[in-house]
Subunit: 96 residues, 2 copies
């Protein structure tokens, strides 16, 4: 099972994942994205869905037209693990 | 522009859309769905996305693994219109 991130690993997060912030009141990472329209936003979600399924780690996310909010946490570990930072980094690679 | 549903139209909603409920504190319809897994849930979202894009009317929605919550309202009309009931009915057709 994935283990909760250490203090040192957490201190490195702002550098490794500068576009992700800590969720309010939860041990979770959040990323908000804005696209040109629904087509672009949902197209991106489809790419993230394929990543998530391949990594067997899935986001909590919402979409309103061209906006997406992604929250990552590891439910069975009760907080942030390497699964979350791994998925977040893979998502960032889609945006390069 | 789409017009807000009349009182008579609203009274007909429970019969026309029995799986949809009114959102708390908003003039919006809500539907919660549970699937077997993420693959089924996201596959369904992809089908709804195609419908929404074709109808040029898009949901507010969230997904956590096998669960989806869909909220429909017409932002530029400030509440529920025929666009929402039309999309809700089209979504129900996917589930028949």
């Amino acid at each position: 099972m994935a283990t909760i991130l250490t203090k040192a690993e957490r201190q490195a997060l702002p550098e490794i994942l500068p576009h992700w912030t800590m969720a309010a009141g939860r041990d979770a990472l959040v990323r908000k994205l804005v696209f040109a329209d629904f087509s672009e936003a949902f197209g991106f979600m489809a790419r993230v869905a394929l990543l998530a399924e391949a990594m067997n780690h899935h986001p909590e996310w919402s979409n309103v037209y061209n906006r997406i909010e992604i929250t990552l946490t590891t439910h069975d570990a009760g907080g942030l693990t390497g699964k979350d930072t791994g998925l977040a980094r893979a998502i960032e690679q889609l945006l390069v």
